[in-house]
Symmetry: C2
Subunit: 200 residues, 2 copies
């Protein structure tokens, strides 16, 4: 099997949510695994001098409309959460804590968190809600609540964010296939083509 | 026939170039005409507080790589012009001057200008080069050279840019179908779906 695909995203990113629903199926068609890497997009935005999409004049309103339209075209749940964007610290830390034990379990948890936030508007900045989502996946809530406050887990998320930026990640989602980067949920067609052709 | 599609772009925009090569064929499949509307993207960027892609940290390098890759996947000419981005005043004014006479001729001229700039790196900020490109299309160079200095034509481009921003245009390309806006060369699939389904 070839090298796994790297899937970078922020839990606060609508386009990250849309791509998360598709990336593993896409990769499976080419017998590739996907490694999920949540990150703090805000740190990358400081480097590029960008601000959150929803706060940009005109473009912000366009994107809100686009998310609604995209969910309709994809046939997936969508709601504009009351609290948006968010600092997705708790859920990202919980992800890495789970990922060290079982990456597939961490992905199921991540999809549940995305669905809770963007599908149903639940506040995933609240560790208790994050723990509740984990519990629905059969994960011990006490362990998770301790992990999101654990200095080592906190540092892990910081390190992963630094690593992501060093790898060229400046937006969410950002996908790396054999060293080649692709930015955006709209670029899955190009990821597919790259996987099929090796870049030609 | 249904209402025409509005195609907004800046001659300095690589993604505008890639979309220009496809939009009329796409629309023709749904028996729609396309009205081309070059604009000064810089004016829209002031509103959104953006800066030219190529000047953004990390993202700028990503995009340069992406243009090269996209041209390869599309099988179309590409070169990174030495002078980039440019203020595309002369070529945009020439476009509107031609558009008033014959929109199809103006489109052929626009495609020739895009091909000269992004296909072969010619400097389309130079009115003499713009006139030469027009001449190859059987257009009188003297008339064109006068038009690009004509206050009425200059004002026309300013007005079109203001109108575009008022219509919600903040990037290039930006396509409006029956009041619905689509941003980016990556969104042609969505334009197509919208034309087919009427938004569902």
């Amino acid at each position: 099997m070839s090298d796994p695909i790297l899937f970078y995203f922020d839990f606060s990113s609508p386009y990250g949510y849309f791509a998360a629903l598709k990336i593993d199926d896409l990769a499976a068609g080419f017998e590739r695994d996907v490694i999920w890497r949540p990150m703090m997009l805000g740190a990358a935005m400081k480097v590029t001098g960008s601000k959150p999409l929803a706060e940009v004049e005109i473009k912000g309103d366009y994107c809100k409309h686009d998310w609604d339209r995209l969910s309709r075209f994809m046939g997936v749940p969508w709601t504009m959460p009351e609290k948006f964007p968010i600092a997705s610290l708790a859920v990202s830390r919980a992800f890495y804590w789970l990922d060290d034990v079982n990456p597939e379990m961490a992905k199921r948890f991540a999809l549940a968190a995305f669905d809770a936030y963007f599908g149903h508007g639940r506040d995933i900045t609240d560790p208790d809600i994050v723990a509740e989502l984990a519990m629905e996946q059969g994960i011990e809530p006490e362990g998770l609540l301790a992990a999101v406050q654990d200095p080592a887990v906190k540092q892990r998320l910081k390190d992963e964010t630094v690593n992501a930026i060093e790898a060229g990640v400046f937006g969410s989602p950002y996908i790396i296939v054999d060293g080649e980067g692709f930015w955006g949920a709209d670029r899955l067609w190009m990821v597919k083509r790259w996987l099929r052709s090796g870049g030609w």
